[in-house]
Amino acid sequence: MMEVVDLVCVRGERRLFQDLSFSQAVGELLYVHGPNGSGKTTLLRTLCGLMLPEAGEIRWRGENIRRLGEDYHREMAYVGHLNGVKDELTAFENLRVMAQLAGADDCDERAVAALQRLELSACAELPGKVLSQGQKRRVALARLLVAPRTLWIMDEPFNALDVKAVATIQDILIEHLDNGGMAILTTHQEVEITADRARHIRLGA
């Protein structure tokens, strides 16, 4: 489904990694490992299409993601370092707007269900600014559930989450992979997802 061919990423003057190639099929989970500053976030942002690679190609279903543009976005969701949760909107409003822009059906119902799944129902009507760091992170992750997407790209998804929420996200990830999804994520925490499906790449080694 996804192929990365001879990818080279440069940040400023520094070459972060070169000739990175891998491919990923449905149901697979890819862990990106590496020390701070090894280019994990840059790699994920490049895979999203937010950054241009210096050289190399990223293909989705055999087509360059640059050429696919919005068609690629229709199959991909990204949870970055920044939560993208507006302080002035409630948790529910935050999710509803993103669901509408993502082109989902039944946005209100899906937003309510996603909040419930991540145990945020009690804070659905609270504005973002009174939510704790972990709750904001969960709102950001709830975005993955409001619109069906094949590929999830997650940058440190378990940051600021408590043990129970980490377990919930693990369950959600496993379900996603079982339903023919795929995921790419970075994490410093030791969160194991059924090892036979997980593959690892190391940057800056």
């Binding site: 999203c48 919005e70 920044l82 993208g84 507006k86 822009l101 082109g103």
Partner: protein
């Protein structure tokens, strides 16, 4: 496409409603700048009548520029801008929605306030009418063109100063035809030619600047 436009406008207007102080500062800035001139120049009616349209227009330009910082920077800082770029919607449409709500929040109040302030300059009812129409045609251009500058300077240090250097020269044609339309109507030449030219600036700005802004946003994201 229209649903995307609608939801961006709803979102940004809700945000503006919940952060009213930002909106009101722009409006008060406009009111105070326009009101300072009669105090400084003195109550000579003919002088005031002559400079009235120009003062109102320059104040509108500065007020609109002052509010540009709000257009993308908050969304850029909290990460919702990158999420919007990654939605399967044409970026130009999302940008148009943001610019439209920016204009509704910072441009329309100026248009509504202008006739009241124009009275201080002894402008006739007809001149006030032309002033309102010219602002109605001109302020959307200010928001549209300003959005390109705001997107280009996103995330830069000292972006606020840079955006004024980038954008103010581009505002000049709008200023000339906007203020010119009121003067033309006062001198009896008729404002139609100037207003048509303002409209002729608005249409291409409406078509092309959302694309340019979208490109600039993508570059700023890297």
């Amino acid at each position: 496409m229209l649903t995307a436009l609608w939801w961006v406008v709803v979102r940004d207007l809700t945000l503006a409603m919940r952060r009213r102080a930002d909106v009101l500062t722009t409006l008060f800035f406009f009111v105070i700048v326009v009101s300072l001139f009669p105090l400084g120049v003195g109550p000579e009616m003919n002088t005031l009548r002559l400079m009235g349209p120009g003062v109102v227009w320059v104040a509108a330009l500065l007020a609109s520029m002052l509010s540009l910082g709000r257009l993308f920077s908050a969304d850029y800082i909290d990460g919702s801008l990158e999420q919007m770029i990654l939605t399967p919607r044409p970026l130009a449409v999302l940008v148009l929605g943001k610019v439209l709500s920016h204009w509704l929040v910072s441009g329309v109040p100026l248009v509504l306030m202008a006739p009241l302030l124009g009275v201080q300059y002894g402008l006739s009812a007809q001149a006030l009418g032309v002033l309102v129409v010219s602002l109605l045609l001109g302020t959307p251009v200010l928001s549209l063109v300003g959005a390109v500058g705001a997107a280009l300077t996103l995330g830069l240090r000292g972006g606020g100063v840079l955006v004024s250097l980038l954008v103010l020269p581009l505002y000049i044609p709008v200023l000339i035809f906007g203020a010119g339309s009121v003067e033309a109507s006062v001198t009896g030449l008729g404002a139609q030619a100037h207003l048509s030219l303002l409209g002729a600036i608005l249409v291409p700005a409406l078509v092309f600047t959302p694309w340019a802004t979208g490109w600039a946003l993508r570059i700023s994201m890297e």
